[in-house]
Subunit: 139 residues, 2 copies
């Protein structure tokens, strides 16, 4: 596994980007919209250190912004998300989000820190038993 990013939730996107970019000196790497809970997702990195990123999530709905804490998760890239998830299950770990889409899974530490696993190079074709595996709690 390879470290990708640490994700944080922000309550004021302008103020947050003023801190991360204006003050801390990070640069915007990419930005897109989230749809499940409508949001802006912005990846930031320090100049010259673009492999280790901060993911900033800004929910459009005030209720979503109030619902969650400021820390979201830590993300790692994996070579084969199905193999990794199988290994983790074999070691007794639950998949809070199974890799139904062949791309993304979530597990949690005993203290509730969420770890996101992301397939290197983009989604694999959906595959059973993963495609129909239900969530286990939140992530």
């Amino acid at each position: 596994m390879k470290y990708l990013h640490t994700a944080v939730r922000v309550t004021d996107l302008v103020q947050a980007l003023d801190f991360y970019c204006g003050q801390m000196g990070m640069i915007e790497v990419r930005r897109f919209k989230g749809h499940q809970r409508p949001c802006d997702i912005i990846f930031l990195a320090m100049p010259g250190d673009d492999q280790a990123q901060i993911e900033v999530v800004y929910y459009h709905d005030a209720a979503d912004r109030e619902k969650y804490g400021n820390f979201s998760h830590v993300a790692y890239q994996v070579e084969n998300i199905y193999d990794t998830c199988q290994e983790l299950m074999d070691k007794g770990l639950s998949l809070n989000l199974p890799p139904r889409d062949g791309f993304m899974a979530f597990v949690k530490s005993p203290d509730g820190i969420s770890f996101e696993l992301l397939q290197k190079g983009g989604p694999l074709p959906p595959e059973e038993p993963w495609a129909s595996m239900p969530d286990q709690g939140t992530w």
Copy 2:
């Protein structure tokens, strides 16, 4: 600045290391004791990705373990901690922990995410005005 680690607090060290090392496959990079609030501090990394680490903090005092949340901070290495702190102050940021020891400083995002700044290569000689600069809040 260069990303170093994301720090988490754990309530059961054996259980935590079983997750991070036994299940997730991380390896212990270094370990030492903290003294201000007695604790074990363990740095972990994925094999082959030892530059991006997870810092695990286990407080010995149950009251300390109950006092704080599971997420602690994100850390970056800086070329010159005094220059960086001066730049951040010039941009209007408060230093929650000034670099009194020439090595470590903390700032916070508007949403309360703590960022640790660490001097590359170890402590610089203590220097004013930093050496006598008081804390500003918590970090």
